[in-house]
């Protein structure tokens, strides 16, 4: 290493040059500068900077590995410049160097870097030596990094390259199936819907999202990051790994590290783009117009009622429209991004920008995101390092409503009359208006066409980091960050006059909000080694404040609906939104943390962590929580008896740990009794009346509210065989969520005020997680296969009172109760009646012991073709007390399988995800077979009972439905297991020999398919249903209930990545 002149000067020069070259890259053809320095000079570069490039010589050579085989892909850098290349498939290279250059640096992952002095040589051949320490993979842990071998907690790593260029809207979706115990629950397939992440099962009935830390900043959504900017994601799963984030770690922690420029690495411009199309995977079979009418007629006849003339009217019995066909159209996906990364001796940088645009398969649903990221690192002298990260995201999202069981778009398309055209001959939309018998649904295509909504988010996430080496091994580090999101949503609802569900005014809703947080943290890091002891200490202080402020406005009665007039100043009236007019909230966390990592002889490992957290969510006196954790590990593979007995074992480690974590992710201010002053009434003579406000307590207080804690025990085994060609990890864990914050049974006698959470619930998740991988190279062919699986059992251990349950929202216009969660059972179980086939004749009804004392039998309310419900409590009558748990939405196993292979320039990758041992409640089908609704029915209704022996599973049709055949029952519980070919990628990388001629460092072209094949027995549109509903007011979310959610789609994309 040669440094000419004072350090500072060189730094400045390098940095300035970097920036200039960067500018140059952007503005000019990237090929020109190296070939045509004169041109560069003409553009105004001072000769001094370019001087070293003026006199050139070419150096060629070959790089071999330790066994003298050619080593392709080795990076070669002219030290002190930005110039570099890499070896081709035969390990050969050719590079032109300036006369002033003195040294070439050869580097390759897993090998020791070598600096070779030039001293006039024109041919250099070297062999690289494996770097034992570099083989040690480094993983990011909270407030530091650790060698993977020394980690005693449960940590999964996902590399950015695993999901690079997959057509996913965000990193969250990309994580699905990638790591054991990390379950990404997709809530349907709407563009921009990130889904939710569950680490190690359903951790709490409250917000169970893991903490996402982006480059050291605890922050919200990870979907705002361009997945192509991510270098790695580390998932801290057990208490030992995550306790350093005590407060918010109970549901796991995801550490995201974005790509950075490396010091002394050539500046590399990478341009990346893919475009593709998205299509529906399935549509549900529904009745055609004539069959619909004939089945409705049969329903009236079955009831002994006269058939209303509309069902005889032939004008509605010509099949005209398959509404799902009309609604589910082709979508598109596009992604373009570019990055420039590299660095000199003292500064490095990474700048990237991108655009992702996904148009969904339903209507105008669209998700568009612009990204900008700037990361830099600087060394000041030998002891100071500073760095900076900045991320800007602008996103637009306008997904329509597809979760309402009363007006959802897909729900409507399944049910709208198939004998009506999309548009009438006069160009107006067809409608049920004036044909009440067909039900109060609006034409779904009309709904799509008049949709006018946009949700915009602008997010700025930035932090500064600094590090000072105070003494050998002792560093003081600081991190200051802000995360600010400015959101604006706007929707205009036209006045609907010609559809069944009409409105008497048009309405504009505008809301603006800003969310900002400020983080500051300071900590000391001390590393030391003595004899065979190795010790790392981390300890410090962190605080983060969170502010939120919003305002909403509603305007009505716009005299014209011209798009240019859809603004608040044109509204005829401004309607008050009461409490929703606006507001502000503030929360804060304040914490101290510390961790000790100690190892002896590289084989006996101990980690101990402690964190003390204060949270403003709780009243004084309950604010502080204390979260300890420890773990131990034993690296058996370092013991001689293992080395001797099992020489093929390259790594073998067993670990065990325990810790306590906290969750404070619940509503603020629950310790106060709040008065809502915006209840409304009207008084006064005449028209209009006076608008009157009222005030009442809207929340009962719980002054004792405190931390929800999770205690977790983890036992792990990690093994690598044959130089880690086979790698295997196994973890067993028990996670007990204690003092879980629950709304106690919200007795109706309390009224409708919000019930505060109380620390009364207990939940247990326990299970196994395994990850395994195998890689092998045979000549030019190499392949790898990896699999992960988690077997997790979820149980609610304790609720407020014995026998109590957690309630959930009711389904559909019939307001049916489908979900209850009971003690001793998984969360979110389906609840209803057991059935035992269909009564085939009256004799079966008369002799049925289930109905022995049921007055409905003697009253003649049950007839042949009705469902035989099972009298579980044995009282001889079917009543509410006969309901029971019918199935669980919690999967017994979640798994992912990844297989990749490369041959010469080709790469091929398959990625499967699957779940097993899970049930789905097909509520849409329950309603879709019930002819007492006016709507169209599932085609399955053709298999209905219509005479003895015709069906034992689909009951007869009826408009009166006296036996309530379509009450929630096991008839509509289906197996939800699926295995999905999530991604398939075939790529081709153009050989270096070709690329060198055009001065391109790398060029790869690829085709990717997503959601290509799904193996499932589930009869509905899509087995990935996710969560629906919200938690609050004594009601809890539902999982795996089919409301005709936005289905997932199949995507094919073509793309290219080119680096210079």
């Amino acid at each position: 290493m040669t440094i000419k002149g004072p350090t500072r000067k060189v730094t400045n020069r390098c940095f300035a040059k970097t920036i200039k070259l960067l500018f140059f890259y952007l503005m000019i053809s990237p090929f020109s500068w190296a070939n045509d320095p004169v041109n560069a000079t003409a553009l105004g570069y001072p000769e001094a900077i370019l001087k070293e490039e003026l006199a050139e010589e070419t150096i060629t050579g070959q790089v071999l590995d330790e066994s003298n085989n050619p080593l392709p892909g080795v990076n070669i850098l002219v030290v002190g410049t930005q110039r570099g290349t890499s070896t081709d498939a035969s390990g050969k290279f050719s590079i032109s160097v300036p006369e002033s250059a003195t040294t070439l640096r050869f580097s390759f992952i897993g090998y020791q870097s070598q600096d070779v002095p030039l001293s006039g040589l024109s041919t250099i051949s070297i062999s690289m030596k494996p770097d034992i320490s570099a083989l040690k993979e480094v993983v990011v842990v909270g407030y530091g990094t650790q060698e993977k071998e020394d980690v005693t907690g449960a940590v999964s790593s996902v590399k950015g390259s695993d999901f690079e260029n997959l057509p996913t809207g965000g990193a969250q979706q990309a994580l699905q199936g990638r790591a054991a115990g990390v379950n990404v629950v997709r809530n349907g397939g709407a563009p921009g819907d990130a889904g939710s992440i569950q680490i190690r099962g359903f951790g709490t009935v409250n917000n169970a999202d893991p903490l996402v830390v982006i480059d050291g900043v605890p922050s919200g959504s990870m979907n705002d990051i361009n997945p192509n900017d991510i270098a790695s994601m580390e998932i801290l799963k057990d208490a030992s790994a995550s306790a350093i984030y005590g407060t918010r770690a109970a549901n796991g922690v995801i550490l995201i590290t974005t790509k950075r420029g490396g010091f002394d690495s050539p500046v590399k411009l990478t341009v990346n783009g893919y475009v593709g199309v998205t299509n529906r995977m399935k549509i549900l079979d529904v009745l055609d117009a004539p069959t619909y009418a004939s089945i409705k007629r049969e329903a009236y006849s079955n009831d002994g009622l006269p058939i209303p003339s509309i069902w005889e009217d032939t004008q509605y019995q010509t099949q005209k429209t398959n509404w799902q066909d009309e609604l589910l159209q082709q979508g598109t996906t596009q992604n373009y991004d570019a990055s420039i990364r590299g660095g000199g001796k003292y500064s490095s940088f990474a700048i990237s920008g991108g655009l992702y645009n996904e148009k969904g398969i339903i209507g105008k649903s669209n998700y568009k995101r612009y990204n900008l990221r700037i990361n830099t690192d600087h060394k000041i002298g030998k002891r100071i390092k500073i760095g900076q990260n900045f991320q800007f995201t602008n996103s637009h999202n306008n997904a329509p409503n597809t979760t309402s069981s009363q007006t959802g778009l897909l729900w409507s398309a399944i049910r709208f009359h198939p004998g009506l055209p999309v548009k009438n001959d006069d160009g107006t939309y067809s409608s049920n208006k004036g044909i009440g018998a067909f039900g109060d649904i609006n034409n779904p295509i009309y709904t799509v066409d008049v949709q006018d909504l946009d949700n915009v988010r602008n997010r700025f996430l930035g932090n500064f980091t600094g590090e000072v080496e105070l003494a050998k091994g002792l560093k003081l580090k600081g991190n200051i960050a802000t995360d600010a999101t400015f959101a604006n949503s706007r929707s205009f609802d036209v006045k609907v006059t010609d559809q069944f569900r009409s409105t008497s005014y048009n309405e504009l809703n505008v809301s603006n909000s800003k969310t900002w947080s400020f983080l500051q943290e300071y900590f000391l890091n001390y590393d030391t080694n003595f004899d065979q002891h190795s010790l790392n200490l981390v300890g410090g202080y962190t605080s983060q404040t969170f502010n939120y402020e919003f305002a909403k406005q509603r305007g009505r009665d716009f005299a014209s609906e011209e798009p240019s007039l859809r603004y608040m100043n044109y509204a005829g009236t401004i309607a008050s939104l009461g409490n929703d007019n606006g507001g502000k909230s503030y929360d804060a966390l304040q914490s101290f943390f510390g961790r000790v990592n100690y190892s002896f002889m590289d084989r006996y490992l101990v980690t101990a962590t402690f964190r003390s957290d204060g949270s403003s969510k709780f009243a004084e006196g309950n604010r502080f929580g204390y979260f300890p954790a420890f773990s131990v590990g034993w690296r058996l593979s370092e013991e001689n008896f293992v080395k001797n007995a099992l020489p093929f074992v390259s790594n073998l480690k067993i670990t065990g740990g325990w810790g306590r974590l906290g969750n404070q992710n619940v509503s603020s201010l629950q310790y106060l009794a709040l008065i809502n002053s915006s209840y409304r009434y009207a008084f006064g003579d005449g028209n209009p009346q006076n608008e009157i406000s009222g005030a009442a307590q809207s929340k009962l207080p719980n002054t004792k509210i405190g931390w929800e804690t999770a205690e977790m025990t983890n036992i792990g085994l990690e093994a690598g065989l044959w130089k880690n060609a086979v790698y295997f990890t196994l973890n067993y864990f028990i996670k007990d969520t204690k003092d879980m914050l629950l709304s106690p049974p919200s007795l109706g006698t309390i009224g409708t005020a919000d019930i505060p959470d109380q620390n009364i619930g207990q939940l247990r998740n326990q299970g196994f997680e395994m990850e395994a991988s195998y890689r092998k190279s045979i000549g030019d062919f190499s392949f790898n296969i990896g699999a992960n699986a988690a077997f997790i059992k979820n149980r609610i251990v304790k609720l407020a009172t014995p026998g109590a349950f957690l309630a959930s929202q009711l389904y559909g216009r019939g307001q049916q109760e489908i979900v209850r969660s009971y003690e001793g059972n998984p969360y979110g179980t389906f609840y209803g009646y057991q059935t035992d086939g269909i009564y085939q004749n009256q004799t079966e009804i008369d002799s049925d012991p289930n109905l022995a004392n049921d007055s409905r039998r003697t009253d003649g309310q049950i007839v042949a073709g009705d469902v035989r419900f099972v009298d579980l409590n044995g009282d001889g009558a079917i009543t509410d007390q006969d309901r029971t748990i019918l199935g669980s939405p919690q999967a017994k196993i979640n798994y992912g399988v990844n297989a990749g292979m490369t041959y010469k320039g080709f790469d091929f990758n398959l990625f499967f995800v699957g779940v097993g041992g899970v049930s789905i409640y097909n509520a849409d089908r329950m309603q879709g077979l019930d002819a007492s609704y006016p709507f169209n029915l599932y085609a399955e209704a053709e298999n209905r009972w219509h005479g003895e022996g015709t069906s034992n599973s689909v009951p007869r049709v009826s408009t009166l439905n006296a036996n309530r055949n379509f009450r929630p029952s096991d008839l509509f519980v289906e197996k939800g297991d699926f295995l999905r070919l999530k991604n398939l990628t075939l790529g081709y990388t153009i050989p270096n020999s070709v690329l060198e001629k055009v001065k391109i460092a790398q060029a790869r072209f690829y085709i990717t398919g997503q959601n290509l094949i799904t193996f499932t027995k589930y009869s509905g549109m899509n087995p990935e249903l996710g969560y629906i509903g919200s938690t609050g007011g004594g009601s809890y979310r539902q999982l795996n209930v089919d409301y005709a959610q936005y289905p997932q789609a199949r995507t094919w994309t073509l793309g290219a990545t080119i680096s210079f």
């Binding site: 009622l305 006269p306 209303p308 004036g434 009440g436 039900g439 109060d440 600081g478 006059t497 009409s502 008497s504 005014y505 605080s543 404040t545 009236t573 309607a575 503030y586 929360d587 304040q590 204060g614 403003s616 106060l672 709040l674 008065i675 409304r680 009434y681 009207a682 006064g684 003579d685 028209n687 009346q689 406000s693 009222g694 005030a695 009442a696 009962l700 007795l747 109706g748 006698t749 309390i750 009224g751 409708t752 005020a753 014995p802 216009r813 019939g814 307001q815 049916q816 109760e817 007055s855 009253d859 309310q861 009543t879 509410d880 009166l960 439905n961 006296a962 036996n963 309530r964 379509f966």
Partner: protein, 471 residues
């Protein structure tokens, strides 16, 4: 510098937070304005669809007057008596009704402690007593036996209570109405019209005593209303159902709506035919339409029938057509009003007690106690321009109530009351096939006199709340 930041950040007040834009209950109850606002809030839940705007009307689908006409399967089950205790309407209205009780209790607990104008205090407490009494009254009709929560229960957070007997619930309603009648003024300033009055409380007491078959008291309390010049029949029947005159002296108690301000999903929305912007539930059946006498103008004011001219603001006048309804060809008109532009208005109030009802209650009490009720009955008939009846019988009362109060949530309760009084057999009455939209139904006595308690509440109470018999 870092150290300074640490010191600065360590200030404990980082964790102190403020309920921005909200007050806490400790800061509340400062003055008369707070008491009035808290009293206003007692009225608010009445407007919810789960409170009185929709659910209560669904309970009257059980009558022989109307067809549910919606597509809510739980309403089918209610109308056909095939419901069970998990029927969602039984559940939804429970909490909303107890919310009224809870807010009334808050006023009754705190108003006496506030330094305020005595007249205003009496008015507010009278309103709170009335609304609590009204809810216990409705609970006694719907469920029969329910838990009674009073001020001390609210103070002690004693919510999981066993139910009281039917007589106790009824007595609670009576006691609250009596206190309200004592405290409330006879009338309010024009700007406050719609607040309950002495007449509201006395009117409900008259009704309660008729249900209790306490004829003397029924007549006594009815007289306190119809004998008071402040409470008179509107000159025209339709004034009760029009925006300009909806708070006329005849209306003793009504849900007060103002579009754009109060809750949507009002009775107007549910009853107005879909062709005019509503949802078109609760459609009258032929049997009710035929009950009206020839020439009774109330038929056309109460019900849209095919051919009726309908005027909707600037959209002009068009005839009503049968296919504007969902099924029966008829729609209630009482709950429909239109803006100048001809759109459905959600400002229309929904009456729950009118002076006409009190006249008919007085007439019934007199007839059933062996007296002559012609005067009271004929007041109502005369207002409709119909000939007087001499020597009116209970059958005349039954007829008059059905047409005068059609769709006003009285019929099913009236029929059950008359059944219990031995005047008719409701099981036989409901088993009659009244056409495709009201087939014969199986009313089981005594099971169907009351609806079951919401099964979810029974299950949540951990054994404290016992289900009604027969469910």
């Amino acid at each position: 510098m870092s150290l300074l930041l640490v010191m600065n950040a360590c200030k404990v007040d980082l964790l102190d937070t403020t309920p921005y834009g909200q007050v806490t209950s400790q800061q509340y109850w400062r003055n008369g304005d707070d008491v009035v606002a808290a009293t206003n809030a007692v009225y608010a839940p009445l407007l919810e669809e789960d409170g009185f705007a929709h659910t209560e009307y669904c309970f009257d689908n059980c009558s022989d007057d109307m067809h549910r006409a919606g597509d809510h399967s739980d309403e089918t089950a209610l109308e056909l008596f095939t419901f069970d205790a998990s029927n969602s309407h039984l559940l939804a209205t429970w909490a909303t009704k107890y919310e009224v009780i809870s807010r009334a209790n808050a006023v009754l607990i705190n108003a006496p402690k506030v330094d305020m104008d005595e007249t205003l205090r009496n008015r507010s407490m009278g309103e709170a007593y009335f609304l609590r009494g009204f809810v216990y009254w409705r609970l006694s009709l719907i469920y029969g036996e329910v838990p009674i929560l009073l001020e001390e229960d609210a103070i002690n957070l004693n919510f999981n209570k066993p139910k009281s007997s039917f007589e106790e619930v009824r007595a609670q309603a009576e006691a609250d109405f009596l206190k309200a009648a004592e405290l409330l003024p006879v009338s309010h300033a024009a700007a406050e019209a719609g607040r309950v009055t002495q007449g509201s409380a006395n009117g409900f007491l008259a009704k309660l005593y008729v249900y209790n078959e306490n004829w003397a008291k029924a007549i006594e309390y009815a007289d306190k209303v119809i004998g008071n010049g402040a409470y008179t029949l509107a000159a025209n029947f339709n004034e009760n159902f029009e925006l300009e005159t909806e708070n006329n002296p005849e209306v003793l108690f009504a849900l007060q709506y103002e579009t754009g301000w109060t809750a949507d999903n009002s009775p107007a929305f549910y009853h107005t035919p879909q062709a005019y912007g509503g949802w078109g539930f609760h459609e009258p059946i032929e049997d009710l339409v035929e009950e009206f006498e020839e020439g009774d103008p109330r038929r056309a004011y109460s019900i849209y029938a095919p051919g009726d001219p309908v005027t909707r603001g600037s959209q002009g006048t068009e005839p009503f057509e049968a296919d504007m309804t969902r099924v029966t060809g008829y729609a209630f008109r009482k709950y429909s009003a239109y803006t100048d532009a001809g759109d459905m208005s959600q400002s229309l109030n929904a009456p729950f007690l009118r002076v006409a009802d009190v006249y008919l209650l007085a007439a019934e009490a007199k007839i059933r106690s062996g007296q002559n009720g012609d005067v009271e009955l004929n007041m109502v008939r005369a207002r409709a321009g119909l000939d007087p009846i001499a020597g009116a019988t209970i059958e005349d009362i039954m007829h008059e109530r059905r047409v005068e109060l059609a769709g006003e949530n009285e019929r099913h309760q009236d029929l059950m009351r008359w059944d219990k009084g031995g005047i008719l057999d409701i099981s036989a009455h409901y088993s009659i096939d009244r056409g495709p939209y009201k087939p014969g139904r199986n009313f089981v006595k005594p099971k169907h006199y009351y609806f079951p308690l919401p099964q979810r509440e029974v299950d949540l109470s951990n054994g404290v709340l016992v289900q009604n018999p027969n469910y």
